[in-house]
């Protein structure tokens, strides 16, 4: 029997998966495979079931139809939206990161080896020396990195992020994207990390990812940004006509009525 090369190994496979919260299905007939080391973006409008899909991937809700197959022993880690974090909670950077490590009875404090691991991850994420700081005292990019670090401490095979760039400025968005790309290319714990994220940001984030899934209750399109960011798929996903321009080799999505932006891009290309 031929063994599957590790880089092509399926970490998770959803087959005809439907999920509900007791009533009508929120997502239906989802077929999606995530392989080791992939970097996947999921885009779709509000209320399209993206968060439900993430919950199904995480195993916090069970499918009512179909199935989710996970690689045995698969380690998952989740980074929530920063907007859901209670920033007034009395917790330091070190405490946030340390809370995700398993605890041995009667050892509430991190051990030296554990602290060294935390320091390594923090250093890699550019957060060295901030362990004693309160989470509110950090910049937006640093805050996102702290929650990334908490996830990475669990040595995950797959990292799942819900809207990692929601509500952040352009600089922070770039920072987060570069950190994720860096983790995906050379993960801190040896094995490749698959990254799955949801985003509303088609041009600033989704267009830069290697694989994109258009999602609205089910998978509408799945492929590279060039394959997926097409007016036909976008209109089916968002329920509104959209235009796609090419600029510097990148697809740029415009809502209909985006004449002003199109003109500016044309002027920019001409100059």
């Amino acid at each position: 029997m031929k063994s599957v090369p590790e880089e092509n190994q399926n970490l998770m496979k959803c087959e005809h998966m439907s999920c509900s919260y007791g009533g009508a299905p929120v997502i239906e007939g989802v077929d999606l495979t995530i392989r080791r080391g992939e970097f996947v973006g999921i885009v779709g409008p509000s209320g399209s079931g993206k968060t439900t899909l993430l919950r199904a991937l995480l195993g916090s809700i069970k499918p009512v139809h179909g199935k989710v197959e996970r690689l045995p022993g698969l380690r998952l880690a989740y980074v929530p939206q920063l907007e859901t974090v209670d920033w007034n909670f009395p917790v330091t950077v070190g405490e946030v990161i340390g809370m995700s490590r398993p605890q041995r009875l009667m050892r509430p404090k991190s051990q030296n080896s554990e602290l060294a691991l935390i320091e390594d991850v923090l250093e890699r994420l550019g957060l060295g020396g901030l362990l004693q700081r309160h989470i509110r005292e950090l910049s937006g990019g640093q805050q996102q990195r702290v929650f990334l670090a908490r996830a990475l401490i669990q040595k995950p095979d797959m990292l799942i992020l819900d809207e990692p760039t929601a509500g952040v400025d352009v600089r922070t968005r770039h920072e987060v994207l570069h950190v994720l790309a860096d983790l995906n290319e050379s993960p801190p714990h040896g094995d490749g990390i698959a990254i799955v994220l949801t985003t509303h940001d088609l041009n600033g984030l989704a267009a830069h990812l290697p694989r994109l899934v258009c999602f609205n209750r089910t998978v509408i399109a799945d492929g590279t940004p060039a394959e997926v960011l097409q007016p036909y798929f976008l209109e089916r996903t968002y329920g509104a006509p959209m235009e796609v321009l090419q600029h510097g080799g990148m697809p740029i999505v415009l809502e209909q009525g985006g004449d002003e932006l199109r003109n500016r891009l044309n002027r920019s290309s001409a100059s």
Partner: protein
């Protein structure tokens, strides 16, 4: 010399020594559990549970059962019910507390009206009574205190994770409902054994005051977890001591002492923030 003798005079009475010990221990215990009550946004639960305890106490008195055992069982059952109802998310925790504990309180009032002989015991539950403290009461508070410390140390990270970020804690392998149940059991046990000192009407304040004062003093969960019991112990001990001289019920003095410290801490934080803002405006 005469002043020193006067200051030490209350210690010559065993009932005062017992009262001081139990007030200090009760303050520390409420301070410890209060950290979770405050941070989980369920400050109202102490108030609600104390009312539930009133119903259980009245029922126990009518049935001629052990008074505090009945109150404790009732409080524990109410606490677990509140946790279960609020987890369903159809109604919020505050509404769950409102329904379950006021129903229990109403039952207590009905029983009190129907069986008037229960009134004397019920007064003790409502307002506390440190003068009749026995060694067994001190041991009960100390026992729940030790149990709470062991449980909180043993489950430290899980309790912190489930309190700070329940959704992520759940997908990271922490049983959030189990952690909530553990906290409800500790809270109910705390109310049961401290009710004799403070009384149900003031116990919610002792659950909240040390924790919110500690919160003003630190941004670290770990530090808050030891600072709050220390403050609670000080409130309890100092309040009890002052009540001797002021001739005011100990529960009221303990809460007033805590409130004064809270106001001082709140004012100090306000002054510090204003001076930081003033410093920023100069740059």
């Amino acid at each position: 010399m005469i002043v020193a003798v006067d200051l030490l005079k209350p210690f010559s009475y065993e009932f005062f020594r017992n009262g001081l010990i139990i007030a200090t221990l009760a303050g520390a215990l409420c301070g410890l559990i209060g950290v979770f009550v405050v941070l989980r946004g369920m400050s109202y639960i102490g108030h609600g549970l104390s009312h539930a305890v009133f119903g259980g106490a009245a029922l126990a008195a009518v049935l001629n059962l052990n008074y505090f055992l009945g109150a404790g069982f009732w409080g524990l059952a109410s606490g677990l019910m509140i946790g279960r109802v609020s987890r369903k998310r159809i109604i919020g925790a505050d509404a769950a507390i409102g329904v379950i504990t006021t129903a229990s309180f109403a039952m207590g009032l009905a029983l009190q009206a129907r069986f008037g002989q229960a009134k004397r015991s019920i007064d003790a539950v409502l307002f506390g009574n440190v003068l009749g403290v026995f060694t067994s009461d001190i041991l009960a508070v100390a026992g729940v205190g030790v149990l709470s410390v062991v449980v909180i140390i043993g489950l430290y990270r899980k309790l912190l994770f489930a309190t700070f970020d329940p959704e992520v804690a759940g997908v990271s392998g922490v049983s959030v409902p189990a952690m909530e149940a553990v906290l409800m059991v500790l809270l109910s046990a705390t109310i049961l054994v401290t009710v004799r000192v403070i009384g149900v009407l003031l116990i919610s304040a002792l659950l909240v005051l040390p924790a919110v004062t500690a919160r003003l003093m630190t941004n670290s969960f770990g530090r808050m977890l030891w600072l709050s019991p220390v403050l609670g112990a000080i409130f309890g001990g100092v309040g009890m001591y002052i009540s001797w001289y002021a001739d005011i019920p100990s529960g009221a003095v303990i809460i007033l002492a805590g409130t004064l410290v809270f106001i001082a801490a709140y004012s100090a934080v306000g002054v510090r923030r204003r001076s930081q803002l003033a410093g920023l405006s100069h740059h």
